[in-house]
Symmetry: C2
Subunit: 210 residues, 2 copies
């Protein structure tokens, strides 16, 4: 994930930060491969190419590492979306673009996509990744009257879950951009956008990943 903290001053601190990130990267790989957090600390340290002993300098438990790894992947995805959708003012168009981009990016970001699919549901209401961004857009759209929803958290549950369902469908059938458009339309209907407008919004040109 993009590091926005200041560069650590000393060589020791820089090495420490690299070791921590190596452990997180190893845990991300393991999560993407298996979805389970059952590898031993020895296996994780070997994959990270760090000494077994240094694990506990960074994480109290394996669970803490895997939680950090999921947060790291989800937050990287959230920041990627910030860059892609920042020019879209209308919350409805932004939601539609996010749905379509999630599917389109699955091929380019397989590790993050796997982690989202296999571990994302239990983090759906955490304050990391796409969720807080979606909640912000849903709340804004509700206040402006763009979305006809009562409770943004329930809408987030529905849309986030639907996106995970789409990622799951993508593992059993090869999906194309048209599928993303269909799902975007369904989500817009859910938010109270009329059918014709939903179709138009879901077919707009997408921002290009750089």
């Amino acid at each position: 994930m993009q590091d926005t903290t200041p560069r650590p001053a000393s060589r020791f601190e820089r090495r420490r930060a690299r070791t921590r990130q190596a452990l997180i990267s190893a845990a991300r790989q393991i999560l993407a491969e298996t979805g389970e957090s059952t590898a031993s600390i020895q296996e994780i340290a070997e994959r990270a190419d760090v000494g077994f002993g240094s694990f506990y300098n960074h994480f109290e438990t394996k669970t803490a590492l895997f939680d950090a790894a999921v947060a790291d992947a989800l937050e990287e995805f959230g920041q990627l979306f910030d860059g892609l959708t920042e020019g879209i003012e209308d919350p409805a168009e932004r939601v539609a673009a996010s749905v379509r981009l999630t599917l389109r990016l699955a091929a380019f970001h397989p590790e993050i996509t796997q982690i989202m699919r296999l571990r994302g549901l239990v983090h759906l209401h955490d304050d990391i990744g796409l969720s807080p961004r979606a909640l912000r857009d849903l709340t804004a759209g509700r206040e402006s009257g763009r979305f006809r929803i009562e409770d943004p958290a329930i809408a987030l549950s529905a849309i986030g879950g639907a996106l995970l369902g789409l990622l799951q469908l993508n593992t059993v059938t090869e999906l194309d951009d048209h599928t993303g458009e269909q799902m975007a339309e369904l989500v817009l209907h859910m938010l109270g956008i009329p059918v014709d407008e939903a179709r138009e919004l879901a077919a707009r040109p997408l921002p290009e990943p750089s």
Copy 2:
């Protein structure tokens, strides 16, 4: 899960069936507690109160047992829903009732609900549990013109995912029947049911679990 196969003839076969079911029940408990399939065969056998050696008389691998356990739980839930919703003719009302009942039953069937939440997504397009039943209703509703959807599999991804998102929200906030009604309305909007009709359908009396 309700056993619909004929009663095995011999005492040996009955004991064999009991052992198999004990292993499945143990695996269901473990899945509901942790969501992970990492308990050792020894632990599973102890919890099932069967000999370690008998495991391999029934399952080739631990994965095979856990797959069977998930299938067993999902199918039990599907059969429960068959009983509850069999009198509902309109596919829209049936979908709305299923959404609301899933949330209402979470308190009465915690084990199945946990297994659905923690392991359900990857089985969303399998031919077990609520999924094939929902796909049948979505397909029928599409053919009759009741639902304005293009591809029932995409609608299933959206609705199934949304339901799992709701079960997840239920673990972080205590939800009530009104939440279930809201989610049912969102799902009906998605399927193209007009807003006023969706509200009325989502507020109808629910079948009572027996």
